[in-house]
């Protein structure tokens, strides 16, 4: 069984088809890059996959369950348990320090555990920055905190929207290394990007244009 299946999913804003009958399957442990020009519907798709938004029509089947018809509350519970999100902007709570920001995800998921949160920060190389507030962290460090937060609850799927969009090359490589690590551990990854270098490291590349999937290819250059 696939981890995730989008069947004829559309999202319509007035006249605009932000997503137009998209079909996509994500297997367990798969690493997919979603690419496309600005405004092509990448974030829209991410939000639907991430249960933060509901499609206008079509079905979203996650782990064998159709979640497009679920109530908002059910959706929230569902995505909390299965999905880790990395946003296009680094969304951190500005009055909580790095480790507390990670703990917030634990708090809403199950039980906050500072030791585990520190371990997650260590994984992204931020152990010594754990007590810093977001304003005291660089953009790259903030994004790594977001990643630590996304993986803290060991989700089945990590959804990352432009995780490297605001980062320099060094930081980009750190983030990609973490993704490689997660992939090795069997986590499914869906990464939105318009950076070809970030696309190149994924197993599969899906291209979107005007809300439509225009290509869906295996990445020949993918290396384990």
């Amino acid at each position: 069984m696939s981890l995730l299946e989008l069947k004829d999913v559309s999202k319509v804003y007035g006249e605009l088809h932000a997503l137009d009958k998209a079909n996509l399957t994500v297997e367990k442990g798969e690493w997919i890059a979603i690419m496309g020009p600005s405004g092509s519907g990448k974030s829209t798709m991410m939000n639907i996959i991430g249960c933060m938004d509901r499609p206008t029509s079509g079905q979203v089947i996650f782990d064998g369950r159709d979640i497009s018809k679920e109530s908002r509350k059910k959706l929230t519970e569902f995505h909390r348990d299965k999905i880790g999100l990395v946003f296009q902007q680094f969304h951190l709570i500005n009055y909580l320090n790095a480790v507390e920001n990670v703990m917030v995800a634990q708090y809403y998921h199950s039980m906050p555990d500072e030791k585990e949160a520190l371990e997650a920060l260590e994984r992204v190389g931020l152990k010594d920055r754990a007590r810093h507030l977001p304003s005291q962290l660089s953009g790259g460090e903030q994004q790594r905190v977001c990643i630590a937060r996304a993986l803290i609850n060991s989700p089945q799927l990590i959804l990352a929207d432009e995780p490297t969009g605001n980062l320099d090359e060094a930081n980009e490589n750190i983030v990609l290394d973490i993704f490689k690590q997660l992939h090795k551990e069997g986590t499914s990854l869906v990464v939105v990007t318009h950076d070809p270098e970030v696309g190149e490291v994924a197993q599969r590349i899906v291209r979107l244009e005007h809300g439509k999937i225009v290509s869906d290819k295996k990445n020949e250059n993918f290396t384990e």
Binding site: N47, M52, R80, L85, F87, E100, Y107, Y108, M111
Partner: protein, 401 residues
């Protein structure tokens, strides 16, 4: 306390401490509101007391007179005044009037208690000073003019009576005896030498009298007796005064008590007007501060829409977001309420000092009321923006900018 509750507290505390400047603004709004609430509350409840204390400066509001032909006895007086609540009884002054002659002119002597007289007649204006004991006298301005008396003068009050077989002249310290040449009756002219210590101006009938101690008046007349009238000053409203009068008239047989109508009637009209004025002002100011607190809290929450969206994206249920933000708001409301309740007392005291020149009575009950009102208003002010923020799609809030 489990880890989840600890994290909850950690987040609330972090939000309050690390967003200090925002929180101080919100807290300030709440403190100002609570201060005004508790201050005006205290003033509102204290106005009747303050005002009746003020009105007491117009003089006594109850008088006791003998119920029959006799006099008000010491026992009746004790019984009568014991009926008033101690804290309401401002003072009482008995009077005994006797006719006498000074420099062969008829005058009225009034025996009284100089220690209490200013409590029932605070409006008395005295040049010189009150007598401090026997042998001293306070002379009404009109009497002083008639007799040509001034402060420091000596004056002899004269009491003449016929000497009969019963008269015991040994009791009289200072007297002259003369015989009526026509009838042959013997008369005793008893004199009481006194020093004028003060001249009394009131603009009323009191200016006609010459005030002495009870002891002096007794030794002049050679008789001990009760009082003609007792003036009582009670810090209470008209209805309560009427109740007192009823009780005294039915329980103390020797006394007939009545209201000094002129004083009490105007007192209660002014008071009612003043109370409603303070009440209206309190309500208006309260409404304004509530709006102010509400707008501040709304702005504080509106700023955090993104954070609310983020928490939702991290899997927070609406109910837990409401709980977190509300407890922050309620905590602020509580702290602001406590500070405001205390500040309000000082505020009321300053106002009272300036307006009534006396300090305010502390009303402990207003502290919990202020805190509760402050928590309630802040809670309501938070609830509305939180509810609307929580309903927003996280995808929308987290996007862009």
């Amino acid at each position: 306390m489990n880890k989840k509750q600890r994290m909850f507290i950690r987040m609330v505390v972090a939000s309050l401490i690390r967003r200090r400047s925002r929180m101080i603004v919100a807290l300030l709004a709440i403190v100002v509101g609570a201060t005004i609430l508790s201050g005006l509350g205290m003033i509102y409840y204290d106005v009747p007391r303050q005002m009746s204390a003020q009105f007491r400066s117009y003089g006594a509001n109850i008088i006791f007179t003998p119920s029959g032909d006799g006099y008000v006895s010491e026992e009746d007086l004790d019984q009568g005044v014991s009926i008033f609540k101690k804290e309401e009884l401002e003072g009482f002054t008995p009077y005994r009037y006797e006719n006498s002659n000074i420099h062969n002119l008829p005058v009225t002597l009034a025996g009284t208690d100089f220690d209490s007289v200013m409590k029932t007649s605070p409006y008395w204006h005295i040049s010189g000073r009150l007598p401090m004991g026997d042998g001293e006298t306070l002379v009404g301005a009109k009497a002083a003019e008639k007799l040509g008396l001034d402060i420091g003068d000596s004056v002899s009050a004269q009491n003449s009576f016929m000497i009969t077989e019963d008269t015991d002249l040994t009791k009289i310290p200072d007297y002259e005896i003369y015989t009526d040449p026509e009838t042959g009756e013997k008369y005793c002219d008893h004199l009481l030498e006194m020093q004028v210590t003060g001249i009394l101006e009131t603009g009323g009938p009191e200016e006609e009298y010459i005030y002495t101690t009870f002891h002096d008046i007794s030794s002049l007349t050679l008789s001990e007796r009760g009082y003609d009238i007792v003036e009582v000053s009670v810090a209470a409203m008209q209805d309560r005064l009427k109740d007192y009068i009823k009780t005294i008239n039915s329980n103390v047989s020797g006394i007939s008590s009545k209201l000094v109508k002129r004083v009490t009637a105007s007192e209660s009209t002014v008071l009612t007007k003043l109370e409603s004025l303070v009440f209206i002002v309190t309500l208006v100011v309260l409404a304004l501060t509530m709006i102010c607190v509400a707008t501040t809290m709304t702005a504080v929450i509106a700023e955090r829409r993104r954070e609310i969206g983020l928490r939702k994206a991290l899997g927070a249920l609406n109910s837990s977001i409401i709980a977190e933000f509300m407890s922050e708001g309620l905590l602020l409301g509580g702290v602001g309420g406590i500070i405001g309740a205390v500040l309000g007392y000082f505020f009321a005291d300053v106002v009272s000092m300036n307006v009534f020149s006396s300090s305010i009575t502390f009303r402990p009950l207003l502290i919990p009321i202020t805190i509760a009102a402050s928590v309630l208003v802040t809670g309501l002010a938070c609830l509305i923006p939180i509810r609307s923020a929580v309903d927003v799609d996280p995808a929308l809030v987290l996007k862009g900018e």
